[in-house]
Every structure is written in structure tokens, then in C-alpha cells.
């Protein structure tokens, strides 16, 4: 467990762990202004703005991490930064959503001969059956 004058810091993103270790002080760009977290800080939960998370280790080193936003959870002995890997903003997300919608619509525009649910199932069943036969043939021949 961490010593009394340090705090355990975990910085994780959806794509991987970024930092894990003890610190004497952590600075983060909270949504209402930058905050500094010392050991035995009161429990806090905040969203983060894009910016820099600064971690001071007991050895006197300082680590910098860029986060595209996210959230920070502070407990007396532990700080967890849930970092976004991408820059997030309502309009950027909105544009991405529109693009995803558009791609779907475009794909549907040129629908090659519509088939029914039942047809799709039979076609799939046939393909799986063929694969099974192939596997069996392979066994017999091998």
C-alpha cells in the first residue's frame, strides 16, 4: 500500500494503461478549472477538459500526460484518471455521428436485390453446411 504521504495514481484509457504508480501530487485540468490533488484529498469526481495531467513522484520526478478529456476520481488514497483517447466535444461527436449515419444511408441506396429474412437464413445455413462438408471431406482424405 502507498505510504501516508503519497497517493496511488492510475491513468487509464480505453486503449490501455498509461501510468500507474505513487505520487506526492497530481495536477489535472478539471472542467471547472485546474486542480491539484495531494494525498488524503477529499473524495472528488469531476470531468476533465483536454489538457495536461502532471504527476509528481516521490523521487522528485515529474511526468506529463496529455489527455483529450475524460474524468477523474479522487479518493483519499487513490486517484483514477479515466482518459479519453480522442478529443471530445459535442459538435465533433455530432459530426462523427452524422458521418456514420450517412455511410449507412449510402450503403442502403444501392441495395442489391433485397432478400427476406428467411432467404438470408437459408443462404447462411447452406454456406455453413458446405463448410461442414468440406471439413468432413478433409478428414476423410487426410
Amino acid at each position: 500500500m502507498a505510504e501516508r504521504n503519497t497517493i496511488q495514481v492510475d491513468i487509464v484509457s480505453a486503449e490501455g494503461e498509461i501510468f500507474s504508480g505513487a505520487a506526492t501530487m497530481v495536477f489535472a485540468p478539471a472542467s471547472q478549472g485546474d486542480i491539484g490533488v495531494a494525498p488524503r484529498h477529499a473524495p472528488l469526481l469531476s470531468m476533465l477538459k483536454p489538457g495536461e495531467v502532471r504527476v509528481q513522484t516521490p523521487g522528485g520526478e515529474e511526468h506529463f500526460f496529455f489527455v483529450g478529456g475524460g474524468a477523474i476520481e479522487v479518493q483519499p488514497q487513490r486517484v483514477t484518471v479515466l482518459a479519453d483517447t480522442a478529443l471530445r466535444a459535442e459538435d465533433i461527436d455530432e459530426a462523427a455521428a452524422l458521418a456514420a449515419k450517412q455511410r449507412a444511408e449510402e450503403a442502403l441506396k444501392e441495395r442489391p436485390g433485397l432478400i427476406t429474412h428467411a432467404q438470408a437464413l437459408t443462404e447462411l445455413a447452406r454456406a455453413t453446411a458446405q463448410l461442414k462438408v468440406l471439413a468432413r471431406l478433409r478428414k476423410v482424405r487426410g
Partner: protein
């Protein structure tokens, strides 16, 4: 020598194919390992996220996030289907599609409409032939998918859930069990099922910045995104494993084919030599 030349050309062609399938097998093996690492790397985020969300939901029982609301009557469901962009991966995609079709039929049987969010080119090619609504699509994520490429497609379905356009959200992807086994898996993303295992722990309340409700919604959105991301990465691992196995089988088959043809070639060559000799001997005795 009738035939021998053709057989020789055929053998060379099969050998070339074999080289390709062997190379694909090795590439798939190394990509599978990398995908597995990515899958492992995604775990801590999801775990921490789930813990924070559980704490938050517990500390604020009076705020009902739209993403946690369970609507009793289901008029419409959303399904995110994850498929590969490329083929030659055995029955991987076919199995996922079959599972999805069963799910679609189940909900349509209950009178609900279905909205699909499709990830991957193969899924789009398959489902656009169906008369099911596709509301979002994202393809060509490559072997190293990123969360930012998924945000848009997931948002379409999240917004639909928030606005009560859909009442359930599911995720279907190929689950990586081990190198030899991949099976389709269906998971419910929304509403979030309350974690029953969550033991009541010592209680404190947070200082919130800005508001608890806003944070909770922000976290829930990210949580769902990370779950979809996880599904995509797992699908890549499964795809590579399936391709590895398929390509190994293809390489073995090619080897067998070459052996068989070599035998035929040798026989044909021997027959030609014998025939030539017989002709010479016949010609000599005629003199």
C-alpha cells in the same frame, strides 16, 4: 509427352498459392497476438469505469440517468453487429450473422422494430440486402481499431436510446475463446444491468464538478463506447485466429494436392519414357 507439361505448370501454381496461404497464416498469427494484447490493455479502463459508475449510481439514487432507465415495453431495439472487413476467415462472420438474424427474428416476433449499427464491411454487405433498417455504419478500422473511429456510430444508437427511439441496445461480436474456438456472443449494452455482485461498501459522497447527473451521463456514454471498442478488438482477435486456422488448412490441402499431382506427373513421365523406348526398340527391330 502429353500432359506432363500441364501438370508441371499446375504444380507450380498450387505451390505458389501455398506460399501465399502460409504467409497469410503467419501474418494472422502475429496479428492475433497483438490483438490479444490490446484486449488485455482495455480491461483496466472498463473495470475502473464500472466501479465508478456503480459508486455513482448508488450515491445518487434520486437521479435516473436515461441510460439506466429500463423501459418495460419494448417497441424497438438497437443491435450493434461487429464483423470483419475482409474474408478468408472461415465461418466467423457467418456465425455472427446467424446469431444476429436469430436475435432480429426474436424481437420482430415480439412486434419490435430493429435498428442496426453495423461495424465492418462484411456486415454491411450482408445486412444491406435485408430489409432491416441500418442506422449507422463504420468500416475499415484496420487491425488496430481506435475508440475515436467508433464514437460516431455508437452515438447514433446512444442518442436513439436517450430519446426513447430504441428501448434495448445489444452488441453482437465474435468472442475469442481460444485459438481454435471463436463463437458469436450477444451482450446487452443498454439499459445497464445493475451489478448484483456489488457489495455495499463504506459510504462516502463525492464532491462533484460540475453536477453528478452530468458526470454520470458522461461516464455512461464512455462506458458503452469502451464496451463496443472491446467488442471490436475481440472481434479482430477472433478474426485473426479464424484466419490462421483457415489458412493452415489451406496450406495443408495445397501440400496434399501437390503430392498427388507429383505422383501423377511421375507416372506420366515414366509412361512417356517407356513409350519412347518401345518405339526405338520397335524401330530397331524393324530394320
Amino acid at each position: 509427352m502429353p500432359g506432363t507439361k500441364e501438370i508441371r505448370a499446375k504444380i507450380a501454381s498450387v505451390k505458389n498459392t501455398q506460399k501465399i496461404t502460409r504467409a497469410m497464416q503467419m501474418v494472422a498469427t502475429s496479428k492475433m497476438r497483438r490483438a490479444q494484447e490490446h484486449l488485455r490493455a482495455a480491461r483496466p479502463y472498463a473495470d475502473k469505469m464500472r466501479a465508478v459508475i456503480a459508486d455513482l449510481a448508488e450515491a445518487n439514487p434520486d437521479y435516473r440517468s436515461p441510460y439506466l432507465q429500463c423501459r418495460a415495453s419494448v417497441k424497438s431495439v438497437g443491435i450493434i453487429v461487429i464483423s470483419t472487413d475482409r474474408g478468408l476467415a472461415g465461418a466467423l462472420n457467418a456465425n455472427v450473422f446467424k446469431e444476429t438474424l436469430l436475435l432480429i427474428r426474436e424481437w420482430q416476433g415480439q412486434g419490435a422494430t430493429v435498428n442496426l449499427g453495423v461495424v465492418g464491411a462484411k456486415g454491411l454487405a450482408f445486412f444491406r440486402r435485408l430489409d432491416t433498417r441500418i442506422v449507422a455504419n463504420v468500416s475499415h478500422l484496420g487491425d488496430r481499431p481506435h475508440v475515436k473511429d467508433l464514437i460516431g456510430a455508437v452515438k447514433v444508437l446512444l442518442d436513439a436510446y436517450r430519446d426513447a427511439d430504441i428501448d434495448r441496445l445489444f452488441l453482437v461480436n465474435a468472442e475469442f475463446v481460444n485459438t481454435m474456438t471463436q463463437r458469436p456472443a450477444v451482450r446487452q449494452l443498454l439499459p445497464l444491468e445493475p451489478s448484483a455482485t456489488q457489495a455495499p461498501r463504506e459510504h462516502w459522497d463525492y464532491i462533484y464538478e460540475p453536477e453528478a447527473a452530468q458526470i454520470l451521463d458522461g461516464l455512461l456514454i464512455r462506458y458503452v463506447e469502451s464496451q463496443v471498442y472491446r467488442g471490436v478488438v475481440e472481434n479482430v482477435a477472433a478474426e485473426m485466429a479464424a484466419r490462421m486456422v483457415a489458412m493452415k488448412a489451406a496450406t495443408d490441402n495445397a501440400g496434399k494436392l501437390v503430392e498427388e499431382m507429383q505422383l501423377i506427373y511421375n507416372k506420366a513421365r515414366q509412361a512417356a519414357i517407356t513409350k519412347e523406348l518401345a518405339e526405338i526398340v520397335g524401330g530397331a527391330s524393324a530394320l
